[in-house]
Amino acid sequence: MFQINNLKYKSILDITNVRIPKNQITCIIGESGSGKTTLIRLLNKLISPDEGTILYEGTHLSKIDSVELRRKVVMLPQAPAIYSGTVRDNLLIGLRFSEKPLASDPNLLNALQMVNLQKSLDQSSDKLSGGEKQRLALARVLLMDPEVFLLDEPSSALDEETEETIIMKLVEHCKNYNKSLIMVTHSKKIANQFADFIIEIKNGKIVNR
């Protein structure tokens, strides 16, 4: 699905060659500062490589319109972005931004359930805790139903138990609907438990595949 060749980005990343398979669970692991986030930002075309190429489904990223790509390959940042307004507003904003049809309330509640968040849709979003915000942002991305999920430490603010439940549901969802999941995680345990494919980055280089 993604094919990276001879990629260089500043002094942060230097990747000779890697293929990220379609419809599978890929985990990116490595120490902080090793370049994991930079890698998925590149896949979301939020930044462009200085050298080398990234192909998505055989097409150069430079040939794909950035906005169109991001609507298919949606990224969730580590620090969740919460917009002013209600839980409903926050769930719908992804669909609004990507100009997709809005979801009905039952669908929104369904998404909240997927991430174990029991909140009313009319509740204001600014009083949520860090972990709740993270799950809200994850539910927003799920609703967008993209081809590829790029998740940057989606469970960093969650306790271990919730983390495992949610990642399990997420993986199941991807398997059922033929989605690709690329997830940065600090947890080797999560990676070993769920990943079909593991990329380990050390000082900007891929060490172990």
Binding site: N44, K45, L46, I47, S48, S62, D65, S66, V67, E68, R70, R71, V74, M75, L76, P77, A79, P80, A81, Y83, I93, G94, R96, F97, S98, E99, R140, V141, M144, L150
Partner: protein, 262 residues
């Protein structure tokens, strides 16, 4: 019509007693502002004296070229004043956007106001052209300066939110939408507020000047209403041009957020 009272030299000088009063107060209170007060007073006096003579010359030698030259100098001063007022360094692209928005916004409003609303003949008559240009350019300058600082601060402070919106497939326009609206709103709000207080809280300068010079208050308010509308229009046009073009300078052709690193 009554003639305006001509000020004698000693009367002019007696007005400076207010500055002496101010200097006395700051000295008494130990506020170290004497230097600024003196500089400001001297600058104000010299600049106005010079302007007075320039205007006399312009009115005596009516010529479209002189009028255009005067307006050009006013625009340039206004644009550089905006650059100078910013707490942060503006990049080249943003500077160009500011200059372009000021030129198009103020010139369109000014020409419409003079030629259509006032029906000025000849079109370059400096007695109308120069003071009205001053009001329109000056107010637009204040408005756009507010808009620039709100837009730049907004993009910097909300960088994370803007980028997160892009990650969700937002167009740059949608991702910066709230910041753009907020900048526009803050930039036109002072102008709208000044309309609300007008005539009750204070009598605007142009109207006061016309009344002092013996013109009927009714004529004076006609002019004041018209110029106020012209100012609102010019501020709105200048600021909307700026914010609509300005937010684009924060994105590159690949719809990526680019903020200058400090």
């Amino acid at each position: 019509m009554d003639q305006v009272i001509q000020l004698q030299m000693w009367q002019m000088l007696s007005a400076y007693i207010f500055i002496l009063l101010l200097l006395f107060i700051v000295r008494l209170k130990g506020i170290p502002r004497e230097k600024e007060i003196l500089i400001a007073t001297v600058r104000m006096s010299l600049q106005l004296v010079a302007t007075g003579y320039v205007l006399v010359y312009l009115f005596d030698n009516i010529n479209p070229f002189y009028t255009i030259l005067t307006i050009a100098i006013m625009e340039i001063f206004a644009i550089f004043n905006i650059f100078k007022r910013m707490k942060f360094k503006l990049n080249q692209k943003l500077k160009k956007t500011i200059a372009l928005s000021m030129l198009i916004g103020t010139m369109t409003s000014l020409l419409y106001f003079l030629l259509v609303v006032i029906g000025l003949r000849p079109w370059y008559d400096p007695r109308y052209f120069v003071p009205i240009a001053g009001m329109i350019i000056g107010n637009s300058m204040t408005g756009i300066a507010l808009g620039v600082s709100k837009l730049v601060d907004g993009m910097k402070d909300q960088r994370h939110l803007v980028e997160s919106s892009l990650m969700l497939g937002a167009t740059p326009k949608a991702a910066a939408g709230d910041i753009v609206n907020n900048a526009f709103d803050s930039a036109i709000l002072p102008t709208i507020n000044s309309m609300v207080g007008m005539g009750i809280v204070f009598l605007p300068g142009m109207m006061t000047g016309q009344i002092l010079s013996g013109i009927s208050p009714i004529t004076a308010i006609e002019y004041q209403i018209a110029i106020m509308l012209g100012i609102v229009g010019s501020v709105a046009l200048t600021v909307i041009l700026f914010v609509q073009l300005g937010y684009r300078t924060f994105f590159n052709h690949e719809q990526q957020l680019v903020l200058d690193e400090e």
